[in-house]
Subunit: 415 residues, 2 copies
C-alpha cells in the first residue's frame, strides 16, 4: 500500500504557512500501517494540480489531498480531482443541511459560494466535518483512492480522528496491526527523558518508543506491531512498566488529545473539590485553560485577575504595607493572594500567580521570575519561586502549567 | 523563473519532523522575486530521488534541494543529483580544510564517512557552511540549476543569509521585485469578503489580492510586482483604497503578525484609557489575551472570573433576584456584571461575558448563546446577544474576539 500526500494552497508556496498537515497525516497513516512515499505542495492552480495528480496516480494507491475545500474561487481541489477521474460533483444532503443550519443559527446571510462546501465527488463516500462546513470525500477510480480533506488543522484533525481513521482501517486492513499507547509527562524535558530512557530506546525494535516534545510537556508513544490485540496489550504494558519505573514521577496521563488541564479537572471532580485562582502575570490564562475543559463548571468557582498592585489590595485584601515591603513579585504577596482568594470564593483550593512576564524587569526581578501560591482549606498556605524562560507568552503558559501540576499533586496527596 | 523545493528525508515522510525548511526557503525565494511552484518531499532512496529530479527538471529552472548532505549512508542527495546530470563528485579544498581543522580542534577521530561532507558536484560552485561541515553546491546543467543545501535549520539559515542570497541575486537578477501589504479584518467571513470584493478579485493581475481565513478573522494580502519601490507603494495604496471602500468597516489593522488584541491595547494606550472585565463562560480568556500583549499593564486593571452564579453575586454584586428572574444568560445579568466591574475596579471601560459555552444547554439556551455587556464611565451600559458556533473552545474564543472589537469600536467612537 503506497500512499502520498498532496497539500493544495499557494500560501504554502509563498512560505506564509507551514505544512504541518503533511506531518500530522504522515504520522496517522504510519500508525495505520500505510506507508507514505511522497509529499507534494501545489498552488491553487487547476492545471498544475492536474499535472500533480497525473504523476501521483502512476505511483500511489492512496492519494491524500488536503486544503482547497472551502467556499472561495481558489478552492479547487474537488474540481481538480473530479476532472482528473472524470466524475461530476454532487450535493451531499447532510453537508447541505449543516450548512443551512449554520447560517440560520448565526443569523448570517449565506453567500452562494458557500454551497460548494457541501459538494462531494460522484460515487464517493462523504466524510462529515465535525468542526467546520466543508465535507470530505473518499473516492476510488482506476484502482487509486483519493481522500480529500480540509486544510485548517482545526477541521482536519477532528475529521481524521473521528471519521477517516475508522474508514481507512475498514477499507485498507493490514494483517499486522500497529497498536500504540501515548504516555504524557510534565516536569521533564525531552533530552532528559531520552537520556533517562537511553537503554530502553537503544534496545527497541518492537515495541518502539518515540518521544515528542510539546511546549512544556513531553509525550512518549509506545508502538507495537502485532497480529493479535491481546499480545499487543501485553507488550505495551510491559514496556510502560519499564518506562514508569524510570520516569514515573513525571507521568500524568494517557492519550494524544488528553491535557494536563483535563487531567486536573477530572481529578478535582472525582474528589469533589472546588478551585479558585488569583492571577497577576497570567492575567486569566490559568482559569481560561480550566474553563476550556467541558465540565469545568463543577470545579471552577472563579477568581480574580489582579494585574495592578491596587487591584491586589482592593479585590484580595493584600495589605498595602506588605506590597511596599516585599513587592508584588514575592513569596509574601503570592501567599496573601492565595489566602485572599480562598476567603473571597470559599473554594477548597486557591492558586495565585505573580511575577515578571517580560520583556522588561519588574521590581528588579528578571523576566521569567514567578511566584506561585497554593492555599487549601485547613492547611498552611505555601508559595514557591520558579524561573521560566523564553518569551512573554511562554513564561505565562509555563506558569499556568506549573499551577495545574501543583493542584494535581496536592489533590493526589490528599488521597 | 520557475523554482521548486525538494526536501530529502524519510523522517519527514514518517511525520517525525515538520518541513519548516520549505517554508523558510519559499519566503526567501519570494523575497528575491523567484516564484516557487512546487514543494516535494522524498525519502532517503536513490531511485525515488532520481524520479523526482526527472520530473522537476521538466518544469523548473531552479531546483532547490535540502537535506541529505551529511556523513551517513542515507545522505544521498549529492550522489542523486550528480547521477541525474551525469557529473562526478569532487573534493572542495576549503571544505576539506575546515573538516580536518574541526576534528583536529575537537580532538576526535575523523571517521572516513565524514569526507563526503566536503564533496561538491564537478563544475559547481561550492557554498561554505558557516555553522556546519557539509558544504553546499550550486550547479547548472541542461539549462536547469540545482542548489544543494543542508537539512538542519541551524545550518541552512546562516548559509542562505550569508551566501545563497547574494549568489542568487547575482546569478538570477530580477528586474522586478515583489512588494506586499497585509490588511486584517474582523467581523466578516472569508466567503463574504470574497463576495464583496469579487470584481476586484476577478480583475486582478498586478497587484494581486489573496484572502486567508484564520479563526475569527480574515487577512488579505495585496502583492505588487514592480520595478521601483515608489511605484509599488502607489499601486498597493490604490488597491487598498478600493478594498477599504468596499469592506473598510471590518478593517482593523496591518501586518502578518499584528492581532486584534494588540490593536486594542495600542488604541487604549493612545487614548489613556483603562480596561477591566468580568468573565463567565470565557473564564479569563479575554483578559489573558490582553495580558499577552507586551505593555498591557498600562491599560489592563484586571477583573474577575465569575464562573458560578454565586460568584456573580459575591464579587460583582449582581442581585440574586435579578439572576432568579432573568437567569445568568441574559441582558440584565450582562449589564449588571459590566456595571459591577466598573465600580469594583474604577476602570474607564468594563466588558462582561456570560453565556452557554457548550456542549450542553444552559438555562435552556443552546450552546453558543452569549451576552456581552459594555460599561463606560459617564455613558449608559449596553449588552448585546450573539450566537457563536462550533465547539466550546471556538465559542469562548469568538466571544473574547467580539469583546475586543466592541472595546476597539467604543474607543474609536469617542475620538
Amino acid at each position: 500500500m503506497k500512499a502520498e500526500i498532496i497539500a493544495v494552497g499557494t500560501e504554502l508556496l509563498l512560505g506564509q504557512v507551514v505544512n504541518t498537515n503533511a506531518t500530522f497525516l504522515s504520522e496517522e497513516l504510519a500508525d495505520l500501517g500505510i506507508e507514505v512515499y511522497y509529499h507534494t505542495v501545489v498552488g491553487d492552480n487547476l492545471q498544475r494540480l492536474l499535472d500533480v495528480l497525473n504523476e501521483a496516480e502512476q505511483r500511489s494507491d492512496l492519494i491524500v489531498l488536503c486544503g482547497g475545500l472551502g467556499p472561495t474561487e481558489d478552492d479547487l481541489t474537488k474540481d481538480g480531482v473530479a476532472l482528473h477521474i472524470q466524475k461530476e460533483l454532487v450535493q451531499d444532503p447532510d453537508g447541505m443541511e449543516k450548512l443551512q443550519e449554520f447560517f440560520r443559527f448565526s443569523k448570517r446571510k449565506m453567500t452562494p459560494n458557500n454551497l460548494q462546501q457541501a459538494l462531494i465527488i460522484e460515487g464517493g463516500i462523504s466524510i462529515p466535518n465535525p468542526t467546520g462546513l466543508a465535507v470530505g470525500t473518499l473516492v476510488t477510480a482506476r484502482d487509486t483512492s483519493y481522500l480529500l480533506l480540509p486544510g485548517p488543522p482545526s477541521e482536519l484533525k477532528p475529521m481524521v480522528f473521528q471519521h477517516v481513521r475508522p474508514l481507512l482501517k475498514e477499507l485498507f486492513p493490514t494483517k499486522e496491526q500497529l497498536m500504540s499507547r501515548v504516555l504524557r509527562f510534565y516536569g521533564i524535558g525531552e533530552s532528559q527523558l531520552v537520556t533517562d530512557l537511553k537503554e530502553l530506546i537503544d534496545q527497541q525494535t518492537n515495541p518502539t518508543l518515540a518521544p515528542y516534545a510539546k511546549p512544556n510537556e513531553v509525550t512518549l508513544r509506545l508502538t507495537a506491531k502485532v497480529s493479535s490485540e491481546a499480545t499487543g496489550e501485553a507488550m505495551l504494558q510491559q514496556l510502560e512498566d519499564q518506562v514508569l519505573a524510570l520516569v514515573g514521577e513525571f507521568f500524568y496521563g494517557y492519550g494524544d488529545e488528553n491535557t494536563l488541564e483535563e487531567t486536573t479537572v477530572k481529578l478535582l471532580t472525582e474528589h469533589g473539590k472546588t478551585l479558585a485562582a488569583a492571577e497577576s502575570l497570567t492575567a486569566g490564562l490559568f482559569q481560561s485553560m480550566i474553563g476550556n475543559v467541558s465540565g469545568a463548571s463543577k470545579v471552577l468557582k472563579g477568581g480574580v485577575v489582579t494585574y495592578s498592585a491596587e487591584m491586589k489590595t482592593a479585590l484580595l485584601g493584600v495589605p498595602e504595607r506588605l506590597i511596599k515591603e516585599h513587592g508584588t513579585v514575592s513569596e509574601a504577596c503570592a501567599i496573601a493572594m492565595a489566602d485572599g482568594t480562598l476567603k473571597l470564593t470559599d473554594a477548597d483550593l486557591a492558586v495565585s500567580f505573580t511575577g515578571a512576564a517580560g520583556p522588561d524587569e519588574l521590581e528588579g526581578h528578571p523576566p521569567g521570575t514567578v511566584w506561585i501560591g497554593l492555599a487549601q482549606k485547613g492547611q498552611p498556605t505555601i508559595a514557591e519561586q520558579y524561573h521560566f524562560n523564553r518569551d512573554r507568552q511562554y513564561v505565562r503558559y509555563s506558569a499556568a502549567m506549573k499551577g495545574l501540576d501543583l493542584i494535581r499533586r496536592a489533590v493526589l496527596k490528599e488521597k
